[in-house]
């Protein structure tokens, strides 16, 4: 079981008009189109597109979708409004990254508190992947400025529509 790429990559152009109202154009490229070819196509499309629109072209991006090849049905107790909130530290102590895991399993919770033990095996395994996932050497995810996420500081459970304990 894995995430596999069998869908057409989506190319999107973002535009904005004189009143700062944004809009976008969505196209699909052939399955398996490499990123470089998608960039070439987008660049070649820029001229014909600007001949059709008088809005400002701000940028373009290419999205690759990987479908779960063995999807399962979520059990009755699942609820994506419940979140496991993970607070990660960033390199050099330059802020934190807050991530949420929807519908966390109940086994990680502790009675009478929303706090979750960051040493919990499931939580620790997930955090280790975020910090040290297989992108380069000891590189996992980063924050929006490209700074490395270094450690999990805190974990707790929250619910968007219920008060905390």
């Amino acid at each position: 079981m894995a995430l596999t790429n069998t869908l057409a990559p989506g190319l999107s152009f973002s535009l904005v008009d004189n009143n700062r109202q944004p809009s976008s154009i969505g196209l699909y490229l052939p399955v398996g189109t490499p990123l470089a070819d998608g960039a070439t196509f987008a660049t070649a499309t820029r001229g014909p597109l600007l001949a059709l629109t008088n809005a400002r072209l701000k940028g373009a991006n290419l999205g690759y979708t990987f479908a779960e090849d063995a999807p399962v049905v979520a059990p009755p107790e699942s609820e994506v409004e419940r979140k496991l909130v993970l607070v990660f530290e960033v390199e050099g102590g330059r802020g934190v990254v807050v991530q949420e895991v929807p519908s966390p399993v109940f086994s990680i919770e502790t009675a009478n508190t929303n706090e979750v033990d960051i040493a919990n095996a499931l939580v620790a395994a997930y955090a280790a992947q975020i910090v040290s996932g297989p992108i380069g050497i000891n590189n996992g995810a980063v924050n929006q400025y490209g700074l490395q996420i270094t450690a999990l500081r805190r974990a707790y459970v929250s619910h968007r529509h219920r008060k905390s304990r």
């Binding site: 290419l62 699942s78 992108i135």
Partner: protein, 157 residues
């Protein structure tokens, strides 16, 4: 701010509630490495959540030169709808804030249709065909190299 690749995982619960978990990846992460990361992440995420994973999406910003400022009369709520056919299927692409070039093709303002033959504007049709050549549908029917633009329709919301 750098244009970092972004990974989104879409999860659903038993009540069809949808949520997404998002991550930034290091600059210039190759697609293959990003997919490896996504699959490894999947392995540690699924034991942690009771929601079902539907798909993951990796998004890359492309290096494309922005255009100049928008025209004073630009309006992205107006769309030029391009209807096309592959012979097996059909679909549409919406172009926000069409230029007067499109308006000048004739017909009433609201809801006019313009056939390829009636357009009599080879340059515009060339632009349209150049723009949509090579695109595909979600069901993976690949377009012919150059397909016919069936009709154009001006949409005013």
């Amino acid at each position: 701010m750098p244009c970092l690749p972004r990974l989104r995982l879409r999860l659903v619960d038993n009540n069809k509630g949808v949520s997404q978990a998002g991550y930034y990846l290091p600059d210039a992460t190759p697609l293959s490495a990003a997919l490896t990361f996504a699959n490894t992440l999947r392995g540690v995420l699924l034991p942690l959540t009771s929601a079902a994973l539907e798909w993951a999406e990796l998004t890359y910003d492309l290096q494309i030169t922005p255009s100049g400022p928008p025209a004073p009369d630009s309006n992205t709520r107006e769309k030029l709808a391009l209807f096309y056919s592959t012979g097996m299927n059909h679909g549409s692409i919406l172009i926000p804030s069409p230029r007067n070039l499109a308006y000048d093709l004739g017909g009433p303002w609201r809801g006019f249709r313009l056939t390829r033959q009636a357009a009599n504007d080879a340059e515009l049709l060339d632009d349209i065909e150049a723009m949509v050549t090579g695109t595909v549908f979600r069901n993976n029917d690949v377009f012919p190299a150059l397909f016919t633009v069936g009709s154009l329709e001006q949409i005013v919301p």
